[in-house]
């Protein structure tokens, strides 16, 4: 029994290298690249997408691991969430490992990839706030062995797009050798989509706290003022601890920045307030940010 449409003859190419994959996409402009397929195949099965051909990225071993490059890690886009969640990776980039472990049930984590999570750009994508906080850079492979780099936030914001025939090859992430945390709120105890998530990354070399809030907007948001304010309070050369009140204030500050009050009427009439659901979301972000910072500084 087959459930494939009779009128579409599927071509599946399984290239062995990034350049072969780019070449395959150039040869078949209608082809769609597929890695873990956790988002793509759901769209195919529901009839939203009918790819004329597929270029499978699963056999490209060069993008399924990582390498080190002058203080950075060059992560292959084909790294699965399961691999990222393992302890050896967590020792390198703990925030990304925590996000990958929180990203759905084991079946999804075994298949879903880092590159896929970026390309899908879902607001609830769990690795995205961590990548935003890390200020990761994407290494894009193009035709003829071309490589170009764009910040992950540019792709997520739509400032720069992938051009036809391009693939995300690697994600360049700084190795900061400091605590990182990722926390998310979901509707249930078991795996679920984030209603809000917060990543906090410390960069002691530059005395920075970087925070990104996921799931509350189409792309992760950075509360930059709150970051700078809280970084100025931390004794970077000492214990790095912070009073609970300061962490709480950081949470409120970050939450108010990501979920701002509606613009107030200028004529002095009744001030506008957020609806209860948005207020709850703001409280949630504040609690997550406070906890995430507290754990990072603990």
């Amino acid at each position: 029994m087959t459930t494939h449409a009779p009128q579409t003859a599927h071509t599946v190419t399984l290239p062995g290298s990034l350049d072969e994959a780019v070449a395959a996409l150039a040869a078949m402009p209608a082809a769609v690249p597929v890695a873990g397929g956790t988002d793509l195949m759901a769209a195919v099965n529901s009839g939203l997408l009918r790819p004329a051909a597929l270029v499978g990225l699963g056999r490209i071993s060069e993008i399924r691991g990582w390498q080190y490059q002058d203080g950075h890690a060059l992560l292959g886009a084909g790294l699965t969430h399961a691999r990222i969640g393992r302890p050896d990776f967590a020792a390198l980039i703990p925030g990304l490992a925590a996000a990958a472990r929180a990203a759905g049930p084991p079946q999804i984590r075994n298949a879903g990839t880092l590159g896929g999570n970026i390309v899908t750009s879902a607001p609830t994508g769990d690795t995205l706030p961590v990548l935003a906080a890390l200020e990761a850079t994407l290494v894009i492979a193009g035709p003829g062995g071309a490589r170009r780099e764009i910040p992950v936030s540019h792709l997520l914001a739509g400032v720069e797009m992938l051009r036809p025939g391009e693939l995300i090859g690697y994600v360049r992430v700084p190795l900061l050798h400091a605590p990182q945390t990722f926390l998310k709120a979901t509707g249930r105890t078991g795996p679920g989509r984030a209603t809000a998530s917060v990543a906090v990354v410390l960069n002691p070399a530059r005395r920075e706290v970087r925070c990104a809030v996921g799931a509350v907007a189409p792309m992760p948001l950075r509360p930059l003022e709150a970051e700078r304010w809280v970084a100025s309070l931390i004794d970077w050369d000492g214990e790095r601890g912070l009073a609970p009140e300061a962490c709480a204030a950081f949470g409120e500050y970050a939450a108010a920045a990501c979920i701002p009050d509606p613009p107030q009427p200028a004529d002095g009439t009744e001030p506008l307030t957020l609806p209860p659901a948005a207020l709850h979301l703001r409280r949630t972000v504040a609690a997550l940010a406070r906890r995430a910072l507290g754990r990072a500084l603990a």
Binding site: P6, G190, R291
Partner: protein, 781 residues
């Protein structure tokens, strides 16, 4: 009924959980392998299901089959101006397109009232209502063709607020009020010293069967059709299909395939009927497997309910009067809403003695998704409300919530507000004491280094300092079998040949364990180990729907009677030969022995190659409809349960994790301990879904996110530790084996208990299910 019902628990049998009294010691000899009533016989199909080789309807195949697709309405309320199927019919590979104009028989159907069209003809009344169906030689072709049917709609304003349905334009020629029950019991002037009021809202739980609806229809040479599907009420589905196809019932056969999850009446006639029509039209087998979205749109949901309560009590906490208004959102069609309303109104006061009760219940039509029979219907919604009221009353009186409940507990001999005397065992106080006195689980703060699963999940956002623990009680009740004069009957046939017995009964195994129970009954009565249960189809006599614990009672009773008749046929010649009555002979392990052990023969020898058959029926005592003041002996039997829920709430995020559910249940008699445990655990998990996450959201009548990402079911991490503290085995003398249905009452009671525990943890009112995180955010300590 208990004569000869020896407890056959032998060596190795799992004893029933604490509660004892697994049956009077009878003359049962030692059994080598445990079988019969009261042992944990494993289900025969369990290995195949665990290995994934069990064939469900979606796995069926027939030579030359066509694939069907159903076109469903994208609007909740619209007038159909025109339907143009020509583009779809002209597509290559399309074999037939059917609409309302192609229904040869009755254009409408329904479980109680025939108010639901096979295909919408002039008016669409809910999102996802079937409009047309296509058969094509490939499933994608069928879906594309269905999408190519051009329907012109005049979109109408949907009625989505049930409170506005009374005054709204009628959505149906029958009007918007499906049923109104004004229950009047006692003195309307009675008043208590203490009064508490509350408004409660219950969401729309979906049955969410893991296997979505699927079916295969095969045309018969006689012009009839056979429908292979996971029906839980095959005879009713057959009759409904035959009427719509314009055929005699004998020419339509429903064959029941494996049921991949059911909690009430499974299967969507909006899928079976198009399937049968297309098979009749094309002369080919036609198959359809619903997508998850279609499944959410097509089948019936639990009634969203709005409840307003006023409880009066005296200073000691004895209830004086309960006033309630209950409004059920039935969706567009009546389905079984009248039955759900009867249960909601009759059990509006819960398992408590209430001298005066005034309850107004309404079931109304709206353009929301259809509501229907889902396990514990009516009873679950009111349980969440009356238990919320009991908590409020306890808080107002400064009483312990369990103590307040105990002071009002219902017992055998008391009256329900319907005027019916409770004649069955009603050990409400005993159940409540059992859960109250059970030791509480440890607290995270006593062992902060322990491996706690906090709200938010493993490695999640939960922080011990923000977690508050709450303990709450819920006591619930349900009725068993159809109510209000429904003719509850089941027919079963038992056959024995060469030491192998076969049961033929059209009771569908939905996972409730009927086929295992049938084997246990026959093992018990005929003393043979090998018992087969035949697959179900509508050529067999009707056993009625698999719902409301019916099959344990009526079909189990029918199987037992048939088995006893076979036993008599088997033993009579021997008894005659030995010159003793059949009562002095026992059968065990395939051997027939006289009471004194002197005479002995085997079943195979006694049969001497003959086949023995017997058919019997079980029909419990009749009931009567509720009258126009809500009075009447409407129910055959009642079952009760008490649950103590222990929850951890992250009071900053409002995330809830149920830590432990301690259950005490009135089961009559444990027939299969392992299955009893499994049914209780399953019911509690489903109840936790209703309490915390499961709500099929709509906006303006449109279903939002009909998938398992948007509709969140409990996972294994959400399922709590279930402690079965006590199973009270007080036999119900009118029920076969004295057993009560197990599955429904934990579903009914769980949401109330969880809400009570969240109330205790947060100090918030918690009057809405599922409990939203913003309602579970507590005041910081």
């Amino acid at each position: 009924m208990t004569a000869g019902m020896a407890d056959a628990a032998g060596a190795g049998a799992v004893p029933p959980a604490d509660g004892g009294g697994a049956g009077a010691p009878g003359p049962a000899p030692a059994e080598p392998a445990p079988h019969g009533i009261g042992v944990s016989l494993p289900p025969a199909d369990a290995p195949a299901k665990a290995l994934g080789v069990f064939p469900y309807a979606a796995d069926l195949w027939a030579e030359g089959l066509l694939w069907a697709a159903v076109l469903r309405s994208p609007h909740p309320h619209a007038r159909i101006v025109s339907i143009d199927t020509s583009a779809a019919a002209a597509m290559q590979g399309v074999r037939a397109v059917v609409t309302h104009a192609d229904v040869p028989g009755d254009a409408a159907h329904g479980r109680r009232v025939a108010d639901r069209p096979v295909f919408a003809s002039d008016l669409v009344r809910h999102h996802g209502e079937p409009i047309a169906a296509v058969a094509a030689d490939h499933p994608d072709t069928a879906r594309l063709a269905a999408a190519a049917i051009a329907v012109e709609y005049e979109v109408l304003e949907p009625v989505t607020d049930p409170e506005k349905a009374f005054a709204a334009e009628p959505l149906h020629p029958d009007g918007n009020l499906i049923r109104h029950i004004p229950l009047r019991f006692g003195d309307p002037e009675a008043a208590g010293e203490v009064i508490v009021e509350g408004l409660y809202r219950i969401g729309r739980q979906d049955p969410a069967p893991i296997g979505a609806e699927a079916g295969l229809a095969v045309p018969r040479p006689d012009g009839g059709v056979e429908i292979y599907t996971a029906s839980t009420d095959p005879h009713a589905d057959r009759d409904l299909a035959a009427a719509c196809f314009g055929l005699e019932p004998e020419r339509v056969k429903v064959v029941v395939t494996g049921v991949p999850g059911a909690m009430g009446e499974r299967e969507d006639p909006g899928m079976q009927l198009p399937l049968g029509l297309l098979a009749l039209r094309t002369g080919h087998p036609v198959k359809l497997t619903a997508t998850r979205e279609e499944s959410f749109l097509g089948h019936a949901h639990r009634h969203p309910t709005l409840l307003r309560y006023r409880h009066h009590a005296d200073a000691e906490g004895k209830l004086v009067k309960v006033e309630a208004q209950i409004l059920l959102d039935s969706g567009a069609y009546a389905d079984s809403s009248a039955d759900s309303l009867a249960a909601a109104v009759a059990f509006a006061c819960g398992p408590y003695v209430v001298p005066h009760a005034f309850v107004e219940g309404w079931a109304v039509r709206t353009n929301n998704p259809p509501s229907g029979h889902v396990r514990g219907e009516g009873a679950m919604q009111v349980c969440a409300a009356y238990e919320g009221q009991m908590d409020k009353l306890a808080a107002k009186l400064g009483l312990d919530p369990a103590e307040l409940r105990l002071r009002n507990a219902l017992a055998t001999g008391d009256l329900l507000p319907t005027g019916q005397t409770v004649t069955c065992p009603a050990p409400v106080a005993e159940l409540l004491r059992a859960v109250r006195d059970f030791p509480l689980p440890a607290l995270p703060k006593d062992d902060p280094e322990g491996d706690w699963l906090l709200p938010g999940g493993p490695e999640g956002a939960g922080e011990p300092g923000a977690v508050r623990r709450g303990v709450g009680y819920g006591v619930g009740m349900v009725h068993m079998l159809g109510a209000e004069g429904a003719d509850e009957v089941s027919t079963a046939t038992v056959k024995i040949h060469n030491n192998v017995a076969t049961v033929i009964c059209a009771a569908v195994e939905t996972g409730q364990g009927f086929s295992t129970l049938a084997r246990q009954i026959v093992q018990e009565v005929l003393g043979v180990e090998e018992v087969h249960v035949a697959p179900v189809d509508t050529d067999q006599p009707s056993a009625g729907p698999a719902a409301r614990g019916r099959h344990t009672w009526v079909s189990g009773g029918a199987v037992e009677r048939a088995a006893r008749m076979v036993r008599t046929q088997l033993l009579q010649p021997l008894a005659h030969k030995f010159g003793m009555s059949t009562e002095l002979l026992t059968i065990a392990d395939g051997k027939i022995t006289s009471y004194d052990g002197v005479l002995s023969t085997t079943v195979a020898e006694a049969l001497d190659g003959k086949e023995l058959w017997a058919t019997a029926q079980c029909r419990p005592h009749p009931t009567e409809p509720l009258d126009d003041t809500g009075q009447g002996d409407a129910f055959v039997g009642l079952a009760f349960c008490a649950i103590r829920a222990v929850v951890d709430v992250d009071i900053e995020l409002g995330s809830v994790r149920v830590v432990e559910m301690a259950v005490a249940q009135d089961v009559g008699r444990v027939l299969n301990p392992r299955q009893a445990t499994a049914r209780i655990e399953a019911g509690i998990t489903q109840g936790i879904g209703a309490a915390l996450t499961e709500n099929l959201r709509t906006s303006g009548g449109l279903v939002r996110r009909p998938d398992f990402t948007g509709y969140t079911l409990p996972t294994s991490l959400d399922a709590p530790t279930v402690r079965i503290v006590k199973l009270v085995e007080e036999r119900d003398v009118v029920a076969p084996f004295g057993a009560k249905a197990i599955s429904a009452v934990p579903v009914v009671t769980t949401p109330a208990a969880v809400a009570a525990a969240v109330r205790a943890a947060t100090g918030r009112p918690v009057n809405r299910l599922p409990i939203r995180p913003q309602s579970a955010v507590g005041a910081p300590a």
